[in-house]
């Protein structure tokens, strides 16, 4: 249930409670007042009847001498010399007034009782009408309050939803929208909106600073590393040369990867698409990967009809090579590549991807699980970034019988043609 439903429900419940308490109180007070006035009226009647009886000896106003149906408590009170009123229950509720007459009159030992009574029905018309009016008014009040509180809370929840939508837009990479968030209200919702706006602005500034730093570092490292590689080739000793060259190459790849990541972060990469047959493209990539990166023992199989896709070959190669290199480095052979329609599945028989990576996607310099060995964590980050530039989906998961499984789903040719012909732009950081 949303906040608006909860607020409406809470207000309705409180109203209902108040209405019930108030209704019972009014009903109760009305009942007490009805009893009081009935008793007072019988008292009036009895006092008049008593005066006439005392003077004339006649029974006026329906008064009775020694009524056999006089309730016991009242009879006891009368014969103790007290005058009183009484309301009897039972099937025929009546209101009574009685006093003593005769030998001692109102004294301690009256000879006889003089009493009047009248019906005191439970289903009295006025009482029933009052109860009905209370019920109708109560139900009406609760319904009205439910509607009113629904509308009031809807206004509140609409502003919260606007704030959430603005925050989502910022999360999706749009610049902070000052109008949507920095409302001029002075209540908590406006304050929340402003806080989200400030948070988004400061986070965006921090991310931008980090991206610029990475780009600058990579760019500055590139020249000395290139010089180092060239200089290493001039070293005299063969073994030392090999070691220095190997390290220098590794460093150059790292710098290149960093540059690529910072370019992807900046969102300036554009896909350069053309039509190609997917199985032959994948076979070519796997062959080159074996030759250049030493990724061997890779089997390629094609399921279903071979598809022609509109995509950027170079970027598909970057994605696949990074996936294969990751599988070769952290998984175990055999590595299988399956092409099914526009999907490419890369799987190995190692311990599988860490759960965090499957849930949140790859993050740079995060290698997570010790069983995946050492690495910079840039390969999968680049693969995910390039897949995004291609407009493709890259999911990391576990294969049915163990091992890591990455699924690259390229957009079909028609989708690309209909969507954005020529180029796909990656979203920003």
């Amino acid at each position: 249930m949303g906040i608006r439903g909860r607020i409406a429900l809470a207000i309705s419940c409180m109203t209902a409670l108040a209405v019930v308490v108030l209704g019972f109180a009014v009903h109760h007070i009305a009942d007490a007042e009805r009893q009081r006035s009935a008793r007072a009226y019988q008292d009036d009647r009895l006092s008049a009847a008593l005066q006439i009886y005392e003077r004339d000896g006649t029974l006026a106003l329906g008064a009775q001498l020694d009524d056999a149906t006089l309730p016991l408590p009242l009879r006891e009170a009368v014969f103790k010399g007290r005058s009183g009123t009484y309301i009897s229950g039972g099937d025929d509720p009546r209101v009574w007034a009685a006093t003593g007459v005769g030998a001692g009159g109102g004294g301690p030992d009256p000879g006889r009782s003089l009493s009047v009574s009248a019906a005191f029905p439970d289903d009295d018309a006025a009482r029933v009408a009052l109860d009905r009016a209370l019920l109708i008014a109560g139900v009406g009040t609760v319904a009205l309050m439910a509607v009113v509180s629904w509308f009031v809370s809807q206004r509140l929840s609409r502003r919260l939803r606007l704030s959430a939508a603005a925050a989502r837009r910022i999360a999706a990479g749009e610049p902070p929208d000052a109008d949507a968030l920095a409302s001029h209200g002075r209540d908590e919702v406006a304050e929340l909106g402003r806080s989200v706006h400030h948070m988004a602005t400061s986070l965006a500034a921090r991310v931008e600073a980090e991206r610029e730093f990475t780009a600058d570092v990579a760019h500055e490292l590139r020249t000395p590393v290139a010089g180092l590689v060239a200089a290493a080739e001039l070293l005299p000793q063969q073994r030392a040369v090999e070691m220095v060259q190997d390290r220098a190459q590794a460093m150059r790849r790292l710098v290149e990867d960093l540059l690529e990541v910072s370019r992807l972060d900046a969102g300036v990469e554009r896909a350069d698409v053309d039509a190609c047959e997917l199985p032959s493209l994948v076979r070519g990539i796997v062959t080159r990967a074996a030759r250049q990166r030493g990724v061997s023992e890779v089997s390629v199989s094609v399921e279903g009809e071979p598809q022609i896709v509109e995509t950027d070959r170079r970027r598909v190669e970057r994605v696949l090579v990074n996936l294969l290199a990751n599988a070769a480095k952290h998984g175990r052979p055999p590595i299988e590549v399956v092409v099914r329609g526009t999907r490419i599945v890369v799987r190995d028989h190692g311990p599988g991807y860490p759960a965090e990576l499957c849930a949140e996607g790859p993050r740079r310099f995060r290698t997570a699980a010790p069983e995946r060995g050492t690495g910079h964590g840039l390969g999968l980050t680049i693969a995910a970034g390039q897949a995004e530039v291609l407009g493709a989906r890259l999911d990391f998961g576990a294969a049915a019988d163990g091992g890591a499984e990455a699924v690259l789903e390229l957009p079909s040719a028609s989708a690309v043609a209909a969507g954005e012909p020529g180029a796909v732009t990656a979203p920003g950081p």
Binding site: R39, D44, R45, G57
Partner: protein
């Protein structure tokens, strides 16, 4: 520190609210049960008790005419009740306070009570009225008023605002 202070404040407020609710419920329950007890108890009848106490006052004749309703007994001076319908004594002028009581005429205010079956509630059976006594004559050796005019102030039991009754 702030969090702990906050939670203590919240706890204190919850305890206070719970205390208030319990107290209100208890007070309501006591009030309710007392009222229930009162309904089935013998309550005082103050007017009847007062009528018992002032019995036989104002009987002394000071030469003024009395009232002898339905021709029974001695004429009573400044009577507080007068029977209007003698056949069944179903209409009675009660609680009369005399504003003027002279040798020829008397005027007072009171309430006409009408005996109605199933008249549980007072409203439609008590009628405030003004009474005027007139026609003082000597009846059976005693001075007595012979006519009574009843003028109802608000609602009327039989439809007429003014009713005339023959006394004695």
């Amino acid at each position: 520190m702030t969090d702990r202070d906050g939670s203590r404040w919240v706890r204190g407020r919850t305890a206070l609210a719970a205390f208030a609710v319990v107290t209100a419920l208890a007070a309501g329950g006591v009030w309710f049960s007392q009222a229930t007890d009162r309904a089935s108890a013998v309550d005082a009848a103050p007017k009847t008790s007062a009528a018992q106490d002032v019995k036989s006052a104002g009987r002394s004749s000071a030469g003024l005419p009395g009232v002898r309703a339905c021709g029974i007994g001695e004429p009573e001076i400044k009577p507080r009740v007068i029977t209007l319908t003698c056949a069944d004594a179903g209409m009675v002028a009660t609680a009369i306070t005399w504003e003027r009581y002279g040798a020829q005429e008397a005027e007072g205010k009171g309430v006409v009570q009408v005996e109605r079956t199933a008249a549980g509630v007072a409203t439609d059976s008590s009628f405030p009225a003004t009474f005027r006594l007139f026609g003082a004559k000597t009846v059976d050796g005693a001075r007595a008023f012979t006519g009574l005019e009843v003028t109802y102030e608000r609602s009327t039991p039989l439809g007429d605002t003014t009713e005339m009754y023959n006394l004695a």
